[in-house]
Symmetry: C2
Subunit: 214 residues, 2 copies
């Protein structure tokens, strides 16, 4: 029930009035995200979240609002992390094949990590569950799906410009295949398909998308 009683230790000590927080919101949100990813929304109780974050229930409400709001904030955090990883991979110049390999390696690392089981893709997990009945969550999931599509489309468009792909290649069709490959490994990782099988799927898909390695 204690997260780490050290004072914030942030760069600027803000000299806040009142009793100091016993938690760091960033850390707590990360813990909540981990739990939601593992168990889903409905199967995760506030007591579970309280234990995982080291915050008691009233503090959770004060910091993040009710369970649904906490879920939404957890999802936004997830998206930020995923986007950061993507941006990092897109910053440098490199051949398409290599870029795709990096993207899928990053995705596999994210999906397969987790102490008590593979964490999978939170967008996919949320699409399968809460997105159906909650319009606001659904809108976020749709945005997440299309962000991935767009990133891949961009990737293939650039490759065409650089002459790495034939002029006849359809960037958006390839992008949807690339997204589909992400989705299939996200699903399979949840069912604990071994990493090497997932890597084989990725390699086969890359060969089809950009041509087999000479």
């Amino acid at each position: 029930m204690v997260q780490k009683s050290e004072p914030p230790a942030a760069a600027s000590p803000p000299k806040r009035r009142g009793r100091p927080r016993a938690y760091e919101p960033e850390v707590a949100l990360g813990k909540a995200l981990d739990l939601f990813r593992k168990q889903g929304f409905a199967a995760t109780s506030l007591d579970d979240l309280s234990e995982a974050t080291g915050m008691n229930r009233p503090s959770l409400y004060g910091a993040f609002g009710d369970k649904r709001e906490l879920y939404i904030k957890s999802y936004q955090r997830y998206r930020e992390e995923a986007r950061a990883a993507m941006v990092e991979i897109f910053r440098q110049e490199m051949p398409v094949r290599q870029r795709l390999e990096r993207i899928y390696a990053s995705a596999l690392n994210i999906y397969l990590s987790g102490e008590t089981g593979p964490r999978g893709c939170f967008t996919v997990v949320t699409a399968a569950s809460e997105a159906v009945s909650d319009p606001e969550i659904r809108a976020m999931v749709l945005d997440g799906l299309s962000e991935l599509d767009k990133a891949f489309a961009n990737c293939f468009r650039k490759a065409k410009e650089k002459g790495e792909l034939p002029e006849t290649a359809d960037a958006s069709v390839l992008a949807q295949l690339a997204s589909a490959t992400v989705h299939t490994i996200a699903i399979r990782s949840r069912a604990r398909v071994p990493r090497k099988d997932l890597e084989a799927i990725v390699n086969g898909a890359i060969d089809v998308m950009v041509g087999a390695r000479n």
Copy 2:
């Protein structure tokens, strides 16, 4: 709370002793499946199931066991239906492209139907949720995933034999792409991506897999 009070009306009236059932197990299981697909395991209460099936809770227990057993039986029912649809499509001889079109059309019909929202693919939904923590359910999901892979692999192998695909085509790689396409439309359908977008994804994928239509 009443499913239809008519007597079984089945082909052979079995003359069972005791008070007759007020429900038909097959019908009730179908209703339970519908609800589980829509809401998932954790978000579905026994009261919900009781209302949907027209059976009261004790009858549910008597007929199907506890909630988890009912979920498992619902999933098995789903698989039987999915398999029946597949077998039907594989019975007749036809070109690969047409067979793929039929398979995806059938999948889309299953995923998009549902009065209160798209029902999606129960294998995918279950993989994302219960499969992580429940080994028995996970085993069933893995079986479902590989059954689809195998069906597609068979389809492509036959196509190679008939000369519809080049000898260099890798049936198992194509099969995993075909499965990935099923998974991506299953996910997207849950986020209520419009049917025509899903059809575009399917058509693009088919073109990549078996070559664009002249």
